[in-house]
Amino acid sequence: MSDLTRRTAAELSGLLASGEVSAVEVARAHLDRIAAVDGDVHAFLHTATESALADAAAVDAARAAGEQLPTLAGVPIAVKDVMTTQGQPTTAGSKMLEGWVPPYDATVVKNLRQARLVLLGKTNMDEFAMGSSTEHSAYGPTRNPWDLNRIPGGSGGGSAAALAAFEAPLATGTDTGGSIRQPASVTGTVGVKPTYGAVSRYGLIAMASSLDQAGPCARTVLDAALLHEVMAGHDPLDSTSLKDGYPDVVAAAREGARNGIAGLKIGVIRELHGGDGGYQAGVLARFDESLELLTKAGAEIVEVSCPSFTSALAAYYLIMPSEASSNLAKFDAMRYGLRVGPQGVEAPSAEQVMAATRAAGFGDEVKRRIILGTYALSSGYYDAYYGSAQKVRTLIQRDFAAAFAQADVLVSPTSPTTAFQLGAKLDDPLSMYLQDVATIPANLAGVPGMSLPSGLADEDGLPAGIQLLAPAQADDRLYRVGAALESLLNDGWGGSILDKAPKTLEATK
């Protein structure tokens, strides 16, 4: 494997700026790595070899001409297939959009191009971002580079696996209930869900509009901050885009790594720490060790209670399908994507074509959620289910407000377990939903969250993650505490956690 693929984005940025390597060399190293291992991992749905090399060559030419380039210019990135890319296929992991090439870029993608990152291709995901394992992709599952028989998390399993398999130093994700943080947790990488509204949703294929949030995926906290800075910003094309309140996350990450976190109050959420949440012992052990490290670094640990969090999962699985059933109504076989005629009908009505197309184009999980949402929104049930769930949302926001009055940052394990075996939960949707029990409250309240590796669980030697949560528009606190903890953990491990990954991928070549 080329050494360049082991480098962080920050390191690559330095090497590119000093002229030690060219952007073409960096892009080629990653494309070669993808060619070598992605047959096993299946992190990518589409690899943009030619355009990546052309973009990289353009960066090299601009640099040679003395142009001042942005920090991440020439650094490769993988893009989750839920973001529209002009001229590149965009499917959201669904048969419904197979072969569709959007005529425009999502704002996030536009920002990446303006910052001169090199787009390597599109990453695999659960269909329309519905799932916690990337097994619901219509194009086959992604595999966890730590153990190819295990899931890489979901829905952004492709992005997380691409990082862990050293196929890309950076990737984008979207997080509706934990789809950035949970994959980060089970692959030993870093994932951030920014404050709702901090990153534009324009050009993201929507699942649940009041919950969806795009964010950075990386191998280090600083790399996530560098990408966060590129992705975030006000966008007039998104009516829910924040107009202000973009803290300097890169400075916060650097400060955290340098000066630590003395004096900060860190709140442990009682309801997300053990009990009956199905938490694996090894995940809790690594979490407790992280707390000890934070204490030694001068932070004060306090326990906070958020009683409504125990109802968050239930509220989420009413609100999310309700919004999804509405958002996915646009896949009607008329304007783009798949069109299937019902069998044996000579002159089918538009309704029949629509029903046959949606039957053929959507997978089981998507159908399940559309039906659930249609039920929750239907007359007679609306108040009991959807209305009640929206009240729980109010209570969760109040819990967060009370907790943040006692602590600067809140913490919990990210996912209750390490990566499970492929297929283990496919026939048990509810058990799959429980994977997101700790991540969902942040989406319901719109606050930012980060997951970073906390170590390897004793039972199976697989990565566990710790989740940090901050008040809305205080994303910088996540980076400050995250970078401090990462630095303490790396000191103990003698390097990055990914250095401890079994050589699964090398062995298969």
Binding site: V101, P102, P103, Y104, Y196, G197, S210, P236, S239, T240, S308, S311, L313, A314, A315, Y317, L318, S325, D332, A333, M334, R335, Y336, G337, L338, R339, G341, P342, A347, S349, A350, V353, M354, A355, A356, R358, A359, K367, R368, I370, I371, L372, T374, Y375, S378, Y385, G387, S388, Q390, K391, V392, R393, T394, L395, P429, L430, L444, A445, G446, A472
Partner: protein, 98 residues
């Protein structure tokens, strides 16, 4: 008694415009029943005094000046269409010939 019956699922599938086979309806009804059983607790959590929150941000209408500006060309807009004719979306016929 199940929270949701097979007939109800069939009705919902009709509303959602998704064709479902009898097997699919059986399987879906069983799964949705379990899921609804698990989420039904939301009905007991908050009282009438708790207002509903539909969105994490207070939303206001956002408008832009009503000025003409270039959009997608007809070719670009039609690029993803399953079928097209004379620069228009061609959709399945819904009326009988005569």
């Amino acid at each position: 008694m199940p929270a949701i019956s097979r007939d109800e699922v069939a009705h919902l599938a009709g509303l959602a415009r998704i064709e479902m086979s009898p097997d699919e309806l059986d399987r879906m009804a069983g799964q949705l029943d379990v899921i609804l059983g698990a989420v039904a607790q939301v009905r007991e959590v908050a009282g009438d005094d708790v207002p509903a929150t539909s969105h994490p941000m207070p939303l206001v209408n956002v408008t832009r000046p009503d000025e003409p500006r270039p959009g997608l060309s007809a070719e670009q807009a039609l690029a993803g269409a399953p079928a097209q004719q004379e620069q228009r979306f061609r959709v399945p016929r819904i009326l009988e010939e005569d």
